[in-house]
Amino acid sequence: MPHQFQERHALEELVSMNAAAAADHLAVVARQAIVVVLAAEGQEASVAALLTADEEISVRFSAPGEWLVVTGLQTPELLQQSLAALLRETAHCVDQSHGRVLLRLSGANSRAILAKGIGIDLHPSAFVIGSSANVLCGHISINLALVDKNSFEIVVMRSFAESLLHDLCEMGRAFDLSVFFAP
């Protein structure tokens, strides 16, 4: 007897599905494929080159020779397979689509909100579009990326997602930050 299993997002029930987005808005982005790519020794540059050439994926820096690859265009299985095909033995690809939660913070005050938890300089001249980094937000490690002028993406470990959501809401309280699942 085959079983059908319903996938459950870590923030289901905590975040509503739709509401009016305020000027500053936090979107919980579900159904993202997220894979950690670990370059084999000596292959760091070639892996980086192959990854950045792929337009279907977004590549976030984690560490030397280590990236988070994010896409909403493929399933985790497909992403995993396509990366494996692309990188072959030059890298190890580890699916983290269930182990990570993606949030998108946008709005004119996004930097002011993040400054309440993040110690790096987020000034547009210091953290430019396309930048990404693993940073501490309050007490929680996240990967932060600037994807557009005032739009940041945050990747957080699933078990910490609820706590981070709470923290971000606190940080955004003065700006009436709205939160819901991205459609």
């Binding site: 182990g99 309440k116 699933r158």
Partner: protein, 985 residues
């Protein structure tokens, strides 16, 4: 208008009247007032009682150095004790109360201490209260404690919120007086990212009470123009109500912003206060200078104030602190105040100038007593007169307030918080900041410049230097034109001789000049000894007014220069900072992040009782209807696992994937037992040691392919093990080709344990899980019916036939629900940590209760796991030390009470039968204990000297803390299925 409010002038809003209360009495102030200026306007000079002698005290300053005017502001849980009225911004409805007096401020019983003052000299308490010995805690100390202290903390939950925030800039300017403002303008125009902070509620610093015109306009107008320009610059941030309290390494500054402390009704969206961490490439201290009091007889009488404060109250707040004011000065500043007050129509009783030869010009018609000194003061709740002495003649002069000016000390606090010692300047007769490097400079009065024009220029110049340091060229700043100024000067005067009554150095801690003399006499002449012995400078103002005078007096008495004596150490915080602001949002339930298992919802639906486990919340047990105690639930869960099958959430265990051609070699060096030959598709229990040979962590490690392993760790050490592995790989063995990735959050993992577990698992997965196809320690990727991919491990913590099934976290709940579903016909139950603990104790398995960091593999019964084949592994060498192999080490044993109905609990110690309890006779302890429903009695694991040789012997389980003693039999720690038949079935 009240009696002491001037009819015109000042930066207060005369149209906005604010009601407030002081000690229950209703008063009115104006918007723009501080609590202190409003109190003065209401003729409330007496504001508090001193610490030791309970002497009546009045407002002394108009700023952060205030020693006396400490109030309790607010009510209920919003009570703030020890608030300086001189910096508290007035708001409508503010409730202030005086402190340290009973029954009332005016009639304080504690003032009797004043009569006893000869007996309460510095350090008196070190010399007495020693007899009888037991009396200190019971009699003396409570009295002293009750009399001491200042305000009362309510210790209730604070209803207000706080937060923290980071800021980054090229230049942080601290203080927005003339130097700071010009610096911010200059740097801002040059394009630097500038933050200009000021502790006041209005930018401008001393300019707000300055009477010299700038560019032909009042100074306040210059401030307004400068601020409007700064507001238009996107690269400049203005922060008022913000005190920079600390300078830390790497030019990081801590600052406290009082976001809503000035509001009667704070917004729930904003914090009350906010702590900033400001990372500044450069910083400029434009913190001004502090006027010094004069140490003369009766100088603590309410109404004796700093001369500059009198000016500020008149010029900025439109308040006359008195109607007939005397001034006592050793320099030009006293004359300046006299001019300020006279300009407001306040009568000047006299200027007493300590210098016989001064040529300063007093306002027309003012009496000047050159070469005079004040030797005493009169008045109860307010000054009524002073006794002036000159050339042996004394004279009483009536006045209701007086200003004292003893010269100036640059405010260098922040610059000297990181170890740099203040340097004595003979020219300035003050301690100044040494060169502390390019990161931080001082400007204006903080750098010893006391003229307005010089301060404006210095601010601009220093900002240009900083801009050029950072590679920006700036043109010369336009400097505003400043009206005519007199040159500020003074002649140091540390102590005014001839005092008729106590001459105070530290007002708040009631340290007077004679206390310093006594300290010196008793050998406490070192400036730090004197401070500690007399408590001078240790009050809430940290000696802002008193320290330099104390140094001057001590140096004078020893016949040395203040340079030789030095000064005490400046340390954070510049002014006190609330706990709550520094804690920010991390408090209560949010003190630490919480981690949620992917099976949390499943457990909740099954009515789990949750327990904190590190950062995680884990299911502890699953009560069912009718069960009255946790034990009933746990016993049921245990028996059900032993008889049928149970499901337990083990997702919180650390899971680390290890890749690379050297993965096996790496693990072989990491663990004390061998891993090179672990076959693909198999798991192995591994023991990780510290380099000192003690057990660090344990877990199973599976080989998923030749160069791909999955390491599991305990929940508690998941992070630690990962870091340790990274250390080993990156630092110890960089030659090994190996990479790691934590997948702890990717997988939901459930233990399915019990004799019927195979039936349940087989109903779920496509793969054959029979004993033949999937024997004990098998570890493989499997496909669940319906196609979901998972991982299955035949491992067991309970000792039963058991599997651990891992599925992608998002599917965890659905799969767990399905397991329960298909398991229902086999009697499945959910079981939690408590049952798991019983199951593992019954089986003699260890956790961190046993592996507590002091235990060797052999202690825990794993001696045989230590590979002698391997050339090296972490911990190998030091595990052979004598002490780690000694025969009388404590070894893990099982314990069973001799009388079956007796209880054993963890934490008890072990004694030989008949032995007297003593550290020497201590034989060991109980590490874990539980009621075993299988055996129908309590059982325990413990560590006992040479324990493994002593099976069958009886030992006393000694729990003095709970008043229990139980005789127990020492046994093998495996209580259930020692032959592992169930495990392998």
């Amino acid at each position: 208008m009240t009696a002491y409010r001037l009819s015109a002038g000042g930066l207060v809003d005369r149209a906005t009247s604010l009601n407030f209360t002081f000690d229950g009495q209703s008063m009115k102030g104006l918007a723009g007032d501080t609590l202190a200026s409003a109190l003065l306007a209401n003729d409330q000079m007496l504001v508090g009682r001193s610490f030791k002698y309970h002497r009546p005290r009045g407002i002394v300053t108009a700023g952060a150095s205030e020693p006396n005017a400490l109030m309790t502001i607010g009510s209920g849980a919003r009570t703030d004790p020890n608030t300086k009225a001189t910096v508290a911004e007035l708001y409508a409805g503010l409730e202030a109360r005086s402190q340290n007096s009973w029954p009332s401020l005016k009639y304080d019983v504690g003032a009797l201490n004043g009569l006893l003052s000869p007996f309460l000299s510095a350090g008196f308490y070190y010399k007495t209260f020693m007899w009888p010995a037991a009396f200190w805690e019971k009699v003396y100390e409570p009295i002293i404690r009750k009399a001491a202290g200042l305000g009362r903390a309510v210790l209730e939950r604070d209803p207000e919120a706080y937060e923290k925030c980071w800021a980054h800039c090229d230049l942080l300017v601290v203080g927005s007086g003339p130097a700071g403002l010009m610096a911010a303008l200059t740097a801002g125009r040059a394009g630097l990212r500038v933050i200009l902070v000021d502790e006041g509620f209005r930018h401008g610093g001393s300019l707000l009470s300055e009477t010299t015109p700038i560019d032909g306009e009042p100074a306040a107008a210059f401030v307004d123009k400068a601020l409007s320009e700064l507001a238009t610059l996107p690269n400049v941030t203005l922060m008022a109500r913000t005190t920079v309290f600390g300078w830390y390494d790497d030019n990081v500054f801590g600052a406290l912003e009082r976001v809503q402390k000035h509001l009667a009704v704070p917004s729930s969206k904003l914090p009350a206060e906010r702590v900033w961490r400001i990372a500044a490439k450069r910083a400029l201290l434009a913190t001004g200078a502090e006027e010094r009091p004069l140490v003369f007889g009766g100088n603590d009488r309410p109404g004796v104030m700093m001369a500059g404060a009198l000016s500020t109250y008149a010029n900025r707040y439109g308040v006359a602190a008195g109607k007939l004011v005397a001034l006592f000065t050793n320099g030009s500043a006293g004359y300046r105040t006299a001019a300020d007050l006279a300009a407001h129509g306040i009568d000047i009783a006299a200027i007493i100038d300590s210098r016989a030869d001064s040529t300063e010009v007093a306002p027309f018609g003012t009496r000047v007593i050159r070469g005079g000194s004040i030797v005493d003061t009169k008045g109860r709740s307010r000054l009524s007169g002073i006794t002036v002495e000159r050339s042996g003649f004394e004279e009483r002069i009536d006045c209701d307030a007086m200003g004292m000016s003893g010269g100036f000390s640059p405010v260098i606090h922040l610059a000297c918080q990181r170890g740099a010692k203040p340097v004595w300047s003979e020219t300035l007769k003050a301690f100044v900041a040494p060169d502390v490097g390019a990161g931080l400079r001082l400007a204006g009065s903080a750098a010893g410049l006391y003229a307005l024009a010089a301060c404006l220029k210095d601010g601009a110049d220093k900002a240009r230097t900083i801009a050029s340091d950072l590679g920006l060229l700036t043109s010369a700043a336009h400097l505003p034109a400043v009206g005519e100024e007199t040159t500020a000067s003074f002649t140091a005067l540390w102590y005014v001789p001839g005092a008729r009554s106590k001459a105070f150095v530290d007002f708040q801690n009631d340290v007077h000049a004679k206390d310093l003399g006594l300290a010196l006499r008793e050998g406490f002449g070192h400036v730090e000894h004197a401070k500690r012995y007399t408590t001078n400078g240790m009050a809430t103002d940290q000696g802002k007014l008193s320290n330099v005078n104390a140094v001057g007096i001590l140096a004078g008495m020893q016949g040395v220069s203040p340079a030789e004596l030095g000064t005490t150490t400046f340390r954070p915080f510049y002014t006190p900072v609330p706990f709550g602001a520094l804690a920010g949002t991390s408090r209560d339930e949010h003190a630490a992040p919480k981690r949620v298992s992917p099976l949390h919802g499943w457990a909740a639906r099954n009515k789990a009782v949750f327990i904190e486990s590190g950062l995680w919340y884990r299911s502890s047990w699953f009560p069912r209807a009718g069960e009255k105690t946790w034990r009933e639930s746990v016993d049921r869960e245990v028996l059900n696992v032993r008889e049928n099958v149970g499901l337990c959430d083990v997702s919180t265990l650390g899971k680390i994937e290890v890749f690379g051609p050297d993965a096996a070699e790496f693990l072989n060096r990491l663990y004390c037992n061998p891993f090179l030959k672990l076959p693909v598709g198999k798991a192995r229990y591994g023991l990780m040691l510290r380099e000192d040979g003690m057990v660090y962590d344990d877990g199973t490690t599976s080989r998923l392919s030749d160069e791909h392993f999955l390491v599991t760790t305990t929940t508690a050490l998941a992070g630690g093990v990962m870091s340790h592995m990274e250390y080993c790989a990156q630092v110890l063995w960089p030659e090994l080709k190996v990479r790691f990735c934590s997948v702890s959050d990717q997988w939901a993992q459930m233990a399915i344990a019990g004799p019927k577990s195979r039936l349940v698992v087989q109903a779920l997965v496509e793969d054959d899980v029979s004993n033949a196809a999937f024997p004990f320690l098998a570890a493989k990727a499997v496909t669940l019916k319906g196609g979901l991919k998972g991982r299955l491990f035949r491992i067991s913590f309970s000792g039963e036939l058991a599997y651990e099934l891992a599925v992608p976290a998002g599917y965890g709940e659905a799969v767990a629900d399905k397991v329960m579903d298909v398991g229902r016909m086999h009697g499945i139950c959910a079981y939690g940590l408590e049952a798991l603990n019983v199951l593992r104790i019954e089986k003699g398995h260890v956790t961190h209760a046993e592996l507590d960091g002091r235990v060797t593999p052999d202690d825990a019964g794993f001696g045989r796991m230590l590979s002698s084949q391997k050339a090296d592994f972490i911990g190998k060498r030091l595990s052979t030390r004598f002490g780690l192999t000694a025969a009388d080490r404590m070894q893990m044993v099982g314990l069973k009470p001799v009388e079956k109905d007796k209880d054993i609990r963890a934490g008890a110690h072990l004694l030989r039968e008949g032995a007297k309890p003593s550290t020497l006779n201590d034989q060991g302890y109980v590490s874990s204990a539980c009621y075993s429903p299988v055996l129908g009695q309590f059982i325990a694991l413990g560590f006992l000297k040479s324990g493994r040789e002593r099976y069958g012997e009886k030992v006393v389980v000694w729990d003095r803390l709970r008043g229990e003693e139980t005789l127990a039999e020492i046994c093998n720690p495996v209580f259930v299925d020692p032959a592992n038949t169930k495990l392998n079935s």
